[in-house]
């Protein structure tokens, strides 16, 4: 009762939207949902209160993703593009390395980082590691000015999708290494957009759940980017294996027909 009264105070449209998003996240993530999640989703089909509670959690998460991916305009304007981009990467809990320096700037396990990167405002970023962060296509606004970016790792990012890959064309002249493995939202349509990265030499496409024939995609990517080495997919993946095929209807019918003919 209390829960339904509380939720009554919230804006109705956001409640509906977040309930919708809650179930969407449960359905679209790669791992099967846990028992608790399944129970909650089942209950939310029958009770408005549970639907709203499930929605609050995801409303909070959507708000977090959106706030983490805004354009850090003040930082860019006050301190310059490079420091703005560096600050953005560190707040997302990613790490990076400036061009001409060999040490990496990383946050610690609690997300705190030192502000030493502010001492070199002219140094451009060369390598970025954003694995496991919640960066999405809006967050790239902070990084588009880094035209010396050589290596980008997006391993296991849940919000990286095809539209994100399409925006990577801004790094077409500099990007040499890209890792999009284990991103659940990436499909072939987004990988086709990588044709604009002409200098790419290493591409990792392992663990992409939405690719139905990874071997074929690897062949096509190697044709599309001749100087690039594509890892993460074997040529046999996605092929129909002839010896493990189940006996089909035609085999059964053929044997039945031969039986009738003998009679």
């Amino acid at each position: 009762m209390a829960a339904s009264l509380l939720s009554h105070g919230m804006r109705r449209c956001s409640a509906h939207a977040c309930a919708a998003v809650a179930v969407r996240r449960g359905l679209s993530s790669a791992a099967p949902p846990s028992v608790f999640t399944r129970l909650l989703l089942n209950l939310s089909r029958y009770f408005y209160d549970v639907e709203h509670i499930v929605g609050w959690n995801d409303w909070a998460r959507t708000k977090l993703v959106r706030s983490k991916n805004t354009f850090f305009g003040y930082a860019q304007q006050r301190f310059g593009d490079n420091i703005g981009a560096a600050y953005y990467i560190l707040t997302l809990r990613g790490s990076f390395r400036f061009a001409g320096q060999s040490e990496w700037f990383r946050p610690d396990s609690r997300g705190r980082f030192s502000y030493d990167f502010m001492s070199t405002p002219d140094a451009q970023i060369e390598e970025v590691d954003l694995s496991g962060t919640i960066i999405n296509h809006n967050g790239l606004d902070n990084l588009v000015k880094q035209n010396k970016l050589k290596s980008l790792s997006l391993r296991g990012c849940p919000e990286v999708d095809d539209w994100f890959l399409a925006r990577l064309h801004v790094f077409g002249e500099s990007l040499v290494e890209l890792d999009v493995s284990h991103c659940p939202c990436v499909t072939v349509g987004g990988l086709a957009a990588l044709q604009n990265l002409r200098k790419l030499q290493r591409l990792d496409i392992s663990g992409l759940a939405r690719l139905q024939s990874p071997g074929l995609v690897r062949i096509l990517l190697e044709e599309m980017l001749p100087h690039c080495r594509v890892t993460g997919a074997e040529y046999e993946q996605g092929l129909i294996q002839p010896d493990t095929r189940e006996p089909t209807e035609e085999d059964h019918e053929a044997s039945a027909n031969t039986g009738v003919r003998h009679i």
Binding site: R12, V21, V23, R24, A166, V188, A192, A193
Partner: protein, 493 residues
């Protein structure tokens, strides 16, 4: 005495006819009797349940699928533009159920609808600023489509968007137009790059660059997707928000007319639509739907709807004699298979000769076609595919541009209608001066799908707010037809 009395009543008399002894078949008869009794009980229970309130039995036979008798907005045409307008109207209504929207669609199978027969491309490479803005707004919508169109407990929307971009090729004659378009596009914020013939050859080695002076490649927000998914996403979300759907054909309107005097002293009839007559499929029965606003999003059949209101049927010199300039034009799309064709980097290639080609799937299939000349428009009475058109007109241009396509096999093909605007091939959005409550959103000449989310928003703003807020489409208003001022788009495919 009682026995005689008993025997005298014919009902109680024992039957004189020979009857079988019951001993042998008693069990079977008992079973039959019980089965019959069960059936009778079941029928009785069903009748009782139907008689209770909450069931949909009624003593009058009502036609299923009739539209409501009253609706605030009736949208004629259930294609992607119509459903987009319905969705945005419901999104912008400030009070819940404040607006009753009805979408009327003639064909539930969508067999001749332009939406589902389209190639599904979206591009920002236009020459008109409004077209570029419409396309960019639509791309932003599609980027966040699950935030807009997702329904609780359903699968997320998957458009199968291929981000391969569009590649336009220009000859010597049209290179300067392409450069100017490039400036307009970059100014409006589209991400396009110009390529010289040598850069083009280095980037796409499978293209034959003879005759190409300049090429323009879309880098972002361009590609193609599945139009049926978008249509169903709009429809599902709009229906979950309470839009009524009716499968029927609009056969007429009941209007009230007033006579108005225009500037040069002529008198014209200004009609205000009161009722829309929606005829049920395979029946003569029709339902007059009382409505305040009607939106004409009927695509290729918009001209027919306009004629029902008398637009174009007046004396030639007056404003009511100018017909609504949208008519259906048939276009062919051919599916070809070429095993040695270009690979994953194939953009939506559009040659200066008019031929276009895009990749379909990963198996070496391509969609290709060409717009015919003005004088050789195919017959619009059916959607039959003309194979000779491919052999005679399309193939040699295609093989000239992509030499690998000299060896190909035409797997299949289809034909669809463009809602072709014969005046200037750009969309027509706005009110008609002679019918002050009919909004038009049609005439996109092949670009309806890619502009549909933004056009839906624009029309909803026009209806509910009285003016455009997001994209300014005043240039697409109908008055340009009466003032004879076409706004021409130079990049029609």
């Amino acid at each position: 005495m009682w026995r005689k009395l008993f025997a005298s009543v014919p009902a109680f008399r024992a039957p004189k006819a020979p009857c079988r002894s019951f001993k042998s078949s008693s069990r079977r008869a008992e079973k039959d009797f019980n089965k019959d009794l069960e059936a009778q009980f079941r029928a009785f229970r069903e009748k009782v349940a139907a008689a209770m309130p909450g069931s949909d039995w009624s003593p009058f036979e009502l036609t299923p699928g009739l539209p409501p008798e009253r609706a605030d907005v009736v949208i004629v045409g259930g294609g992607v533009v119509g459903w987009s307008i319905a969705y945005w109207l419901k999104r912008k209504e400030r009070v819940r159920d404040g607006l009753r929207v009805l979408v009327v669609e003639k064909d539930p199978t969508y067999s001749q609808a332009s939406t589902v027969l389209s190639c599904g491309g979206i591009r920002q490479q236009f020459s008109l600023k409004e077209n570029i803005e419409l396309s960019m707004t639509s791309a932003d919508f599609l980027k966040n489509i699950n935030n807009h169109l997702w329904v609780v407990n359903e699968d997320p929307v998957d458009l199968q968007f291929n981000h391969s971009g569009y590649l336009f090729l220009a000859s010597e004659k049209s290179a300067h137009i392409m450069e100017e378009n490039y400036r307009t596009q970059r100014h409006a914020g589209a991400k396009v790059a110009l390529l010289s013939p040598s850069q083009l050859k280095e980037r796409f080695p499978w293209i034959n660059t003879d005759g190409v002076a300049l090429a323009s490649l879309g880098l972002e927000n361009e590609g193609w997707f599945d139009p049926w998914s978008l249509l169903n996403a709009f429809r599902r979300k709009a229906m979950s928000m309470g839009v009524y759907q009716c499968f029927g054909e609009v056969t007429g309107f009941r209007c009230s007319s007033n006579v108005a005097e225009i500037a040069d002293g002529d008198f014209v009839d200004v009609k205000r639509i009161k009722y829309v007559n929606v005829q049920m499929p395979n029946s003569l029965e029709y339902q007059p739907v009382e409505s305040a606003v009607v939106v004409n999003a009927a695509g290729a059949n918009s001209g027919k709807i306009a004629t029902m209101l008398g637009i174009g049927l007046g004396p030639k010199e007056s404003i009511s004699g100018i017909p609504f300039p949208v008519e259906p034009r048939k276009r062919f799309v051919y599916v070809v298979h070429c095993p040695d064709g270009p690979g994953l980097d194939t953009p939506f290639l559009i040659d200066y000769s008019g031929v276009y080609c895009r990749r379909e799937g990963l198996g070496g299939n391509y969609l290709t076609g060409m717009s015919p000349e003005e004088t050789e428009e195919p017959d619009i009475s059916n959607l039959d595919v003309d194979d000779k058109f491919f052999q005679e007109k399309v193939w040699h241009h295609l093989a000239n541009r992509i030499p690998a396509f000299e060896q190909l096999k035409v797997s299949s093909g289809w034909a669809g209608f463009y809602d072709y605007n014969t005046f200037d091939q750009n969309g027509i959005v706005g009110l008609h001066p002679l019918v002050p409550n009919m909004y038009f959103a049609t005439g996109f000449s092949g670009h309806g799908l890619q502009q549909s989310p933004a056009v839906g928003l624009a029309v909803a703003e026009l209806i509910l707010d009285g003016g455009y807020k997001t994209v300014n489409l005043n240039a697409f208003d109908l008055k340009r037809i009466f003032l004879r001022e076409p706004i021409l788009e130079s990049n029609i495919v």
